[in-house]
């Protein structure tokens, strides 16, 4: 049974349709990416999923059914709008938020100690939250998300405001959580992080699902029939190649005819005496897929209007 199941969710605010018939499932123990350009409806989808907003139509199942008060203790949520009580010491803020997730104050204290050590925040423990830097507050926010050892973690833009060292630390932390069996739903538009971390993704644009599935599958789907060849030699005219373009200063992108296989092309290149430095299937990066899909979607919408 999936940990999270959204089916045919729609939510509008006045005339604005924020989410329009979106469905996806998040399986237990995976890192799932919720992607989309700014204003696509990612945050609204998360809020509907967390029962902050009631959907206009559709249904949500989380941890095996509708949201209940008891389930809130099993969920760790880090909203895009980071929120901490600014006027109280960090220790008190973390303890308070921890106890609201069902921990006893003593339990919360001991876990805070180990997390602060791990996140290198021990020296700021009794400082007021507002005295911490943005990055430190971000880390503190992560502590409140994970302190109660949730089954499901929902993180909106986990890497914003973090330097490369802390970004790496958060990535390791997310992988560590996944390995423990925690389900992670991550919303972001930093595609390279998604490529590194996520198993499956859903891409929404203008409130609608435009891509959904495993990362590998999607890549394959968009790879087209092309290869990239790095060489310093001039390329001969090859049968079965429909189109040649420069990929960069030392590489070409070859679009193949449907009947040609990549194996044939490699053989012909070698037979033709071309010194091949690198030969790869032209799989698009997630960034490229993202841009292509979103642009197509915009175009379609434009035509319809």
């Amino acid at each position: 049974m999936p940990t999270v199941e959204l089916s045919h969710i729609s939510k509008s605010f006045g005339t604005l349709i924020a989410v329009d018939d979106v469905s996806f499932e998040v399986e237990k123990g995976e890192i799932f990416g919720l992607l989309g350009p700014n204003g696509a409806g990612k945050t609204t989808a998360i809020r509907v999923l967390l029962d902050i907003f009631k959907p206009d139509s559709g249904s949500v199942s989380i941890l095996g059914g509708p949201m209940t008060e008891a389930k809130k203790d099993q969920i760790g949520y880090m909203p895009e709008e980071r929120g901490m009580y600014q006027d109280i010491p960090l220790d008190r803020c973390l303890t308070y938020l921890g106890t609201l997730k069902g921990l006893s104050p003593a339990e919360a204290q001991s876990r805070i100690s180990s997390y602060l050590e791990k996140f290198d925040l021990e020296s700021s423990r009794y400082k007021k939250v507002k005295e911490l830097s943005k990055g430190m507050q971000q880390k503190a926010q992560l502590i409140t998300t994970l302190i109660h050892e949730p089954e499901l973690v929902i993180i909106d833009e986990p890497f914003s405001g973090l330097d490369p060292i802390n970004t790496q630390m958060v990535k390791d932390l997310l992988r560590e959580q996944r390995d423990k069996g925690v389900t992670i739903l991550m919303s972001t538009h930093q595609m390279h992080q998604v490529e590194e971390l996520c198993d499956r993704i859903v891409l929404i644009d203008h409130g609608r699902t435009v891509l959904y599935g495993s990362l590998d599958e999607i890549r394959r789907q968009f790879s087209g029939h092309a290869v990239i060849v790095s060489t310093h030699d001039e390329l001969p005219v090859l049968p079965g190649v429909e189109h040649v373009e420069r990929h960069n200063s030392s590489a070409y992108r070859l679009t193949l005819s449907p009947s040609t296989t990549t194996q044939e092309i490699l053989r012909k290149l070698v037979e033709g005496g071309v010194e091949v430095e690198q030969f790869e299937i032209a799989a698009p990066t997630l960034d490229e897929i993202f841009i292509r899909v979103v642009q197509q979607d915009d175009q379609k919408l434009g035509e319809r209007e």
Binding site: R47, D56, K72, P79, G83, Y96, L97, T99
Partner: protein, 400 residues
């Protein structure tokens, strides 16, 4: 401990244990205590215990008995007899006495007494001499009668239907409900101000989403409301204890406080009005908190509600003159002006039962309405950062 109590305790402790709050809490009683001490010191220093002399030519003061001693902080003035005016004058000039009186032979028929001083006697010195004279004139009459003559009659004014009465030494009881009303409303303002702040702060700190995914909106709002009401009640109780304490102490020293009573019925009637008023105002403030985006904006709107609440205080002269005027009745019925109006009118008139009950019913309805409004505004407005929730939206059919 349930989440509700954790929220309530967090909210209560963060206000009550703050220096600013403790300062405000104790500054009022300390100010009152300071004023009480100041009054006592002024009266004490104003009274002059230097004896007063008299030359009795009438023979009425042979074997004179002293007048009753003055009550603290006044000081008793001793009366010294002089055989002739010359010796009295010498002592006046040396400052041994502050004044002297000559009671002439024909005092009884003429009633004339001459008073001599270099500087006019202050405080109740002259009064004490009059008392001394009267006491001695009445020396042969039973002490009960003497006391009565000296103290005079107590005029007890009773209303025609006998439902109310008052006398001069109970004047304080007229304004006690009014004072209690002011205290209630100050406590109410404190509480509801904090509540408004609490809701806006969750928005300003962007903690709202974390909160509503940890606890239910009901736990959140009821926890905060109970805590902030408890803050107001803490304030009220501390002040009330001080005021009652001062009144009880003052009762034995200050004649205008001597008749002070705390009738159970009045207290009960006041509390019955203040509880729904408290809830109504808290609900309204929470609603404002949920609709605005910044604390400063909230304070401004709060001002609009504060004006009607305090309006009866501004109109107090009108109420005293005619506590049953149509204006007074209207303001008794209008929920926002009701608490203060009732507190004022209670002292000066008997509020007809129908008015009191109608006002109470309206207050309860308003309280329920305000809580409903707050709940709805909260659900619709909780995630509006930087964007105000319009009142129109609260009443629209939007799904919260």
């Amino acid at each position: 401990m349930s989440k509700f109590w954790r929220i309530a305790w967090q909210e209560y402790s963060r206000h009550v244990f703050r220096k600013r709050f403790l300062l405000a809490l104790f500054s009022v009683p300390l100010m009152l205590a300071f004023m009480a001490v100041l009054i006592i010191v002024i009266i004490w220093s104003d009274s002059n215990p230097t004896p007063i002399g008299y030359v009795d030519q009438s023979g009425l003061l042979v074997n004179a008995i002293p007048q009753a001693s003055a009550k603290f902080p006044e000081r008793t003035v001793r009366m010294l007899a002089y055989p002739d005016e010359a010796s009295a004058r010498t002592n006046l000039d040396t400052g041994k006495i502050q004044a002297y009186y000559i009671i002439p032979k024909d005092y009884l028929p003429s009633g004339k007494v001459d008073e001599y001083y270099n500087k006019e006697p202050k405080g109740i010195a002259t009064q004490q001499f009059n008392e001394f004279l009267t006491t001695n004139l009445l020396a042969n009459i039973s002490p009960h009668i003497v006391n009565r003559i000296l103290a005079g009659s107590k005029l007890n004014v009773v209303s025609a239907d006998k439902s109310r009465q008052t006398s001069q030494d109970q004047i304080i009881n007229l304004i006690l409900p009014f004072i209690a009303g002011i205290l209630f409303i100050i406590a109410m303002s404190t509480s509801s101000g904090y509540l408004l702040q609490a809701v806006v702060e969750e928005k300003e700190n962007r903690t709202m989403e974390i909160m509503v995914t940890s606890v239910s909106p009901n736990q959140l709002m009821s926890g905060k409301t109970i805590a902030d009401m408890a803050v107001g009640i803490t304030q009220l109780v501390v002040w009330a204890i001080f005021i009652v304490w001062i009144l009880i102490i003052g009762k034995s020293y200050l004649s205008f406080l001597s008749g002070v009573t705390f009738p159970a019925q009045t207290i009960f009637m006041l509390i019955a009005v203040m509880v729904p008023a408290f809830i109504m105002i808290s609900g309204l403030m929470a609603t404002i908190g949920a609709t605005v985006t910044e604390a400063s904006e909230g304070q401004q709107i709060m001002g609009l509600f504060t004006i009607p609440i305090w309006l009866p205080y501004i109109l107090i002269a009108v109420f005293i003159q005619n506590p049953n005027s149509p204006l007074a009745v209207a303001m008794t019925l209008f929920p926002l002006t009701a608490p203060m109006t009732i507190a004022i009118r209670m002292g000066f008139t008997t509020i007809p039962a129908w008015q009191y009950i109608a006002s109470l019913v309206l207050l309860v309805i308003s309280a329920v309405g305000a809580v409903w409004l707050a709940g709805r505004a909260f659900r619709l407005g909780m995630l509006r950062y930087g964007q105000r929730l319009r009142w129109k939206e609260i009443f629209s059919h939007q799904r919260a």
